[in-house]
């Protein structure tokens, strides 16, 4: 099955303050948007982030062909355990999910 990256135009992640990371999936047009919107599983995202689906915010924005996922940071920004100060790399965990 194809992954999110192969269908979407761009997947990016960034801090939304020190305690959240937000991932934007830019689908580009209606076809890819509908496909990812229907096939992206919140539980699968939660497992990738080793967290509970109840803590994740998901917004499907059909006008922008964007799906936005916000997750509490796996580590708070800048703590000794944090590996990614700007939250730039966590996009990969969603980009590499299979779209069912």
């Amino acid at each position: 099955m194809p992954d999110v990256r192969s269908i979407a135009e761009k997947v990016r992640s960034k801090n939304a303050g020190p305690f959240w990371v937000t991932i934007d999936i830019f689908c580009g047009s209606k076809g890819p948007y509908d496909r990812i919107s229907a096939g992206l599983n919140l539980q699968a995202i939660a497992e990738r982030f080793d967290t509970s689906a109840a803590l994740i915010k998901r917004f499907d924005l059909p006008n922008l062909h964007v799906i936005k996922i916000s997750v509490p940071r796996p580590q708070v920004q800048g703590t000794p355990a944090d590996r990614d100060m700007h939250g730039a790399a966590w996009a990969a965990l969603v980009a590499e999910l299979e779209v069912v």
Binding site: N15, R48, K57, L64, P80, R83, A92
Partner: protein
């Protein structure tokens, strides 16, 4: 009608000079620029210093002082010196005095400070006027007192008070990114919905348009909306680029919590006026019952020494995790045996660059790297212990063998000494709001004629 010129997303990132000239010629009511955020990490707030070079800051700030002088309008910067702590504000005030002296200019400067003495926050905590946001670390008086800097994010009330001094230049400590832009239109009677919405769209300069590096944009408010115009050659704002900016660094694309209320853009409409400009209407502002400001605090999380080794031998690349785990176990034991430190006094970690250094346990891909970087991280409760353990870790990363009988291997150190003492490292330890009876009660405003 109110017009605000925004030269770029942050002072220190540069701006397009031709575009700035166009903005000056259009006679803005205010030039507003952001000076920072939490995005570069807790060290800046912890130390109260700027991320950007002084020479770059001075050059760009001087250009904006000249621009405001020629446009005949005030110039405001929020979150001065990256973190908006008092020392960083003073740093920019010092640069400003230097610029004015070199130019033979006289200007009135308003300095708004957002620093919160720990005692003030401890008292508010005891009085029940500090509330956690989600997710918030547990806090108590001792934790608050351990912060090296605490700031509160000012909103439009405090920025308006600074503008009302009649100052030519307003240097503000920590503010929300949006407040420095939204304050003037609200003060002039524009509805708060479009005022805050435009501020959110414009706070990163031309990031809401094509050619995002060009920086310079202009916002014009009217009675029920605003027009966003990027000013650089070839930069275009479209309904898509503008509306998509609500996604940026924002956990919720429809709601933005600010001091005194919440911006709600659920019903916003974005319409192209022509190839480059977009008109936006429909945002609303929900005023909150209580006036709260968000707190940011940073404290020392330990002292760190880092060390880097490079592994090119294919046998070691293939078994790097076993090798690294063995080093951590042996070096931890040696530290306990030789330094008198307790297990809770320190931590040793090795991250394998090329394998899973970025995502750690969350990594789910594997590859066949040609080489790996072994990044050793020692975090300890004193700088002396951190340095001592770094020196103990050094020979392991240079020579540790996978098996006892093989010839002692040697790995590549890219520099000497291989270990680097980073000094104190900081962590953010507040994600809370504090309720105020009067928006100015924990902020200070000073006017300087320079």
């Amino acid at each position: 009608m109110v017009r605000v010129l925004i030269p770029s997303g942050a002072l220190g990132l540069g701006y397009d000079h031709d575009a700035l000239e166009r903005g000056i010629a259009a006679k803005p009511d205010l030039i507003a620029i952001d000076g920072g955020s939490t995005d570069s990490g807790p060290s800046y707030l912890g130390r109260g210093v700027s991320k950007y070079a002084r020479s770059s800051t001075k050059l760009e700030w001087a250009g904006l002082i000249d621009a405001a002088d020629r446009a005949g309008c005030p110039l405001v910067i929020g979150t001065a010196g990256t973190c908006g702590a008092g020392d960083a504000v003073d740093w920019l005030v010092d640069i400003t005095r230097e610029i004015l002296a070199e130019r033979g200019m006289s200007k009135r400067i308003a300095v708004l400070k957002s620093d919160q003495p720990a005692r003030r926050v401890v008292d508010a905590l005891a009085a029940g006027s500090v509330a956690p946001l989600s997710p918030a670390p547990d806090i108590d008086a001792a934790l608050v007192e351990s912060c090296t800097n605490i700031v509160a994010l000012a909103g439009i009330e405090q920025v308006t008070a600074a503008l009302d001094t009649g100052a030519d230049i307003i240097i503000a400590g920590r503010t929300t990114d949006t407040a420095i832009i939204a304050a003037l239109p609200v003060a002039r009677g524009i509805a708060p919905g479009p005022a805050w919405h435009a501020a959110k769209i414009g706070e990163c300069g031309a990031l809401c348009a094509t050619n995002p590096q060009s920086g310079v944009i202009q916002i014009d408010w009217d009675n029920d909306g605003f027009v966003l115009t990027p000013l650089a050659d070839g930069a275009r704002a479209t309904p898509h680029t503008v509306s998509a900016h609500m996604l940026y660094e924002n956990a919720d694309p429809y709601l933005l919590h600010e001091p005194g209320g919440t911006l709600d853009v659920t019903a916003a409409q974005y319409k192209a006026i022509d190839d480059t400009r977009v008109r936006v209407t429909g945002a609303v502002w929900h005023a909150a019952e209580d006036y709260t400001v968000k707190l940011e605090g940073a404290r020392v999380a330990g002292y760190q020494t880092v060390i880097l080794a490079l592994i090119r031998d294919p046998d070691y690349v293939a078994q790097a995790q076993v090798w690294a785990d063995d080093i951590v176990a042996k070096c931890t034991q040696k530290t306990l045996d030789r330094t008198g430190a307790q297990p809770s006094d320190f931590e040793i970690e090795i991250r394998l660059i090329g394998q899973n250094a970025t995502l750690g346990a969350l990594e789910c891909k594997q590859g066949n790297p040609v080489e790996l970087g072994a990044l050793g991280l020692v975090t300890a409760n004193t700088p002396e212990l951190s340095a001592e353990i770094g020196k103990m870790l050094n020979p392991y990363l240079l020579h540790h063998p996978l098996t006892r009988d093989e010839e002692v291997p040697t790995f590549a150190f890219p520099f000497s000494p291989a270990e680097i003492d980073r000094g104190p490292i900081y962590e953010f330890c507040l994600n809370h709001v504090m309720q105020l009876d009067d928006p100015m009660e924990t902020f200070t405003l000073e006017v300087i004629d320079a």
